[in-house]
Subunit: 365 residues, 4 copies
């Protein structure tokens, strides 16, 4: 079944496997007239590139994007933008062994059950490299949003037991720190923690948060296409994410109504909320406060420690996974999270244009 | 924009407002040949009916379902099943006052911003009564799944600070306890806690869990249509839900790879997992362990305590909400959660039929 | 599979069978703020009502519409509008005989093959009564379009061998003539022709045309969502339509490029086309000339003449169909055609709002 | 808006412009386990390649396909198959002149109106080269269908006034004749007719037909997703098609019910139809007779004759189009028509698997 597309008006379709010839994305529904070049995309792809810190695999992946369509004289034409990245640094032989058994925590078993066999090289379609298409598409969504004054920024808030303090947030720290935390002390502490766990042949999890500011009120829909429902799907569709929160999230379950309700108040003749427990969404519709989404990410399932599992001859075995694997998924997933959020927000923003007869008349007048 | 439909093959479209003439749903894509009568639906609707315990509003809503199409000689025909419930016990005058201001924690403000005005009677489309359509549709999905040996059961795991113990789980307790907890002691304690908070004009939140057993491996898709991604959307589309977890959920962020990975093992010549941290889903695809989803629900935003807000003349005001409101949303939302899960699972199960050439050949031979 | 919905942004979902309790439609994505009442809908439904002329069955069907949701204080709220019409004049006993055999030209056989059995009363879901939902939805689409200065008008151009002359077209003639032809002489002649064929226990076919004027250029999409492609689907989805044409249609195949190309010319400082062979669409996108669609409709398959067929015991038999049947489908299908066209055009108009960055900036400024 | 995808379960997304770097398609929802190689695709692409006869432009386009994903060890994996063809023989300078004016019969004007500007090189996205993606995807659909015993064959039935006789149909003639007619005499006559019109700087239209045999009864849906409705959309989405017929098509409008109804009859214990006026579809659902679709194609709009038009300075001008253009579209469009039909049929076949509870139980047992 066709499950590689996301979005309605602004719709992306990703394709490609870890060790195939290339990976890519077709982005359809891009409005015409936006200035766009490969550098706009590459800047985002470089943020998910491995080999840039001790937190990521030493694989060298250049991940140079090529735009194949949808741009004319430097501008989007309104036609689909096809982008691809060639696979260059793949060592297929590293993976030949895992063809015979099911790695714990991976999709090996479920792929075999669903499709009858699988492309076992590097996780195939379930590889983290699948997100290359998402990031390339998200770079476009982010550019469109930024032209409308909307900013989407994701960052790491926790790695294992180490929590970042968000008080002195700066985008610069997020982009410069290996952990993508906006807190230099926590960054340092987290790096040490990961190094320790890695030396024990283990891996760690973490938490990332995405904040959308500048969003007008009114985006999203009251029932199934709630803005938070689509953000939840977008976020949970990222491999390794096991929980999603909006605003106060899990905490609301032990909160009282009088604590959790955000009071409205007039400030400079505008209506604002005094607090933002709701995470910028009320009844599925943006309320013009910042939208806040959080994702909880499991530890990398590929660990070098010995593990029990079974092989395809239905035998219990012990395995030690080899190859090059990140000891933590979070830092490189941050840009993926940011991109999926941007794509979801842009789609809601476009869909919202048709909500009222007054808006339609204004547009067509 | 059209946001009142959910699902691809098995697709539901809900309609109706709290104080309109009726509410209902059209369920399209129901396979032909299933025995179905109004009693099958009513049993589910009765579980979300108010007025049955101290936890819910004293409103008497009969909520009698009427099936208008898609059944012939007691069986589904393959054509859309339209169902409606008439609104009978609505007191529109209770709501006239709230037309002039924005209730904190409600969608009043965002509706006005999006649509220019709103049906302010009882929350309109954002009322909990919208879920009548979801529950009626979910009753059908549950029936189809049960004929395939798949069971979907939701229950309350926490109310405010009171946690249920799941060790002696029984469906009977869930259906009989006012809290929908499978733990009689916790049920009693939670009732007391809610009564206390209610007497202080406040409201409380809680947690619910849904477990799917008997599911074959292979349902879901590796990228955007991951089974967990669709469950996250389905769950977050329920009003008041602010966080969704799959399996260990939030906890994975502080777990180690060696702890979080579920080892495979051979038992009775079959492959099973020794643990189920993954919540029955690996790489977006069901792994045949129970699927476990958890939803965190905020406290009812309608509280009788005085609150600050603004009115439509842009003035700061204080309000005390009147009317009949549940002090907690969770117990009546449990059946909604169960139904949204069943709908999502059934859709994935139908979509999965087209995954392999062998399956297609078997079907058409 | 879910096949009872049409449209993307403005999406309709119809339900109901000829002899069930009721038929109806849910219209989702209706922009907020449009004045709408039952009379707006009823006027359209009355045009497809039977029993008003010698061309239609003497069945009395009141077909009174009831609006159940989506309207507040006389205006659309942006939430789904649910409408239903109760079945009142159904004689199920008329149809008991046809349960045992397959009527030629009907869907009896294909329903049994697809679903294993069928609701045989009056054609069930394949009855012409299914179009009640389409017409109710189309009435809303037409109202929205008319507020934007766009008119959609359908009429009969031929009945059997009798062709209408369109030179003195008036909407009044279309609405008053039993044939829905805009030509009083042809109307008279066609009535005589139909009466003659009916007396011979036979039925006749015909042609209808729909013209959309006032449409801005730019609606539709260059590839699969071409405006003409969606009009073709909308038209062919009407039971009994076997051919669809845009503009010159079939004739283009024997035309030369120099004849078929429409030259552009400046008139009053605007660009217009000197001719309209293209039927208002170039490359799938509206060119601001009138959009012209034509539908060829087969003769009513229910005829009183003896016919050969088979029964469910796999025996060759001869049958004479009884009951009340129109000797021609076209006149009552004209409003259905008009409505499906209006729905398709409105959906394209809404989708088009997101085509350019300039348009989006204008909207959100 | 996202308009470059087609299909539900088997879904294709095309991208690319005539003079961009490449054109291609992502085919999602391909069942796993089908043997597939580039040669399977290339054979289809070669049928639409220009430069092979006097009917087509002397442009040399190699159109070599590259498969980038979705295949492992020679078999489809169930993951999206991305294919591309590099543009190699494009002379962009040929088109610089047409940037300033609107070619009659082309989409130049409507693109500018919709998007504000256009990629004017060779028609951009509206070029016939866009169909490369459709054909590559259709080659896969055809292969799947052929493994199920279903054959889809298209051919030319008329060019201008020259009609092919179908009595001695052979696939070989279709593939060998430059016109794609299954009639050698008509082929010769048509070639002469085209040569004559070309020498007069003009172009001609034609008709093509597609026949699907071996199709089981039951595919398609009774309302909007009728098999004929989707075939109509698929066909009309091919550039230059202006009319679509199913079965007897246009002729039904002058037929009588007694003539047009196909009688059922028992033959070898099976139910068959004595005639096939319905074109293999009753009530939107396949009836197991051959499905017959016909498409009427306009003459190539690019002609060398002088034509009136306007330029972008709003001036009336006369133009003579230069460059390399086919004098007729039909022969190369035949394979596109065949492919769009195959894609539509396959999607219906997959969707049909979920129609009955018995079928679902059989599948999951």
């Amino acid at each position: 079944m066709a499950g590689s597309s996301f979005g309605n008006i602004f719709r992306i379709t990703t394709w490609g496997e870890s060790h195939g010839a290339a990976l890519g994305v077709v982005v359809d529904g891009v409005p015409a007239g936006i200035e766009l070049c490969e550098e706009d995309i590459q800047r985002f792809l470089d943020r998910r590139k491995p080999g840039t810190s001790s937190l990521s695999t030493p694989r060298k992946e250049d991940d140079k994007v090529e735009i194949l369509s949808g741009i004319f004289e430097g501008k989007t034409t309104g036609c689909p933008i096809s982008m691809l990245v060639r696979n260059t640094s793949q060592h297929s032989q590293d993976y030949s062994e895992i063809a015979s058994y099911y790695r714990p925590g991976h999709a090996d078993y479920t792929f075999d059950e669903k499709y009858g066999f699988r492309d076992y090289r590097g996780g195939g379609r379930s590889s983290g490299r699948e997100t290359i298409g998402r990031v390339a598409a998200g770079a476009i969504a982010s550019k469109v949003l930024s032209e409308l004054g909307i900013s989407v920024e994701a960052y790491t808030t926790a790695i294992g037991p180490v929590n970042a303090c968000l008080d002195n947030y700066s985008r610069e720290k997020v982009l410069n720190n290996a952990t993508a935390m906006p807190d230099n002390d926590a960054d340092k502490e987290a790096l040490e923690y990961v190094a320790k766990m890695r030396s024990e042949y283990d891996s760690v999890g973490g938490v990332m948060e995405c904040k959308v500011t500048g969003l007008p009120a009114g985006l999203g829909d009251p029932v199934f296409e709630k803005l938070d429902a689509n953000l939840a799907k977008a976020t949970m569709s990222i491999g390794a994410v096991k929980a999603v929160e909006i605003g106060d999230g899990v905490k609301v379950s032990t909160s009282l109504g009088s604590e959790n309700n955000d009071s409205f108040v007039i400030e400079n003749d505008s209506i604002i909320k005094m607090t933002n427990h709701s995470g910028g969404i009320l009844g599925g519709i943006s309320d013009s406060s910042p939208v806040v989404v959080r994702a909880y990410v499991k530890p990398t399932p590929s660990i070098f420690k010995e593990q029990k599992t079974v092989n395809k001859s239905n035998e219990d075995i012990s395995v030690q996974i080899k190859g090059r694997h990140d000891p933590i998924i979070v830092p490189r997933a941050v840009v993926v999270f940011e991109c999926m959020t941007a794509i979801t927000i842009l789609d809601a923003l476009l869909l919202n244009m048709t909500s009222t007869m007054n808006g339609i008349k204004k547009f067509y007048s």
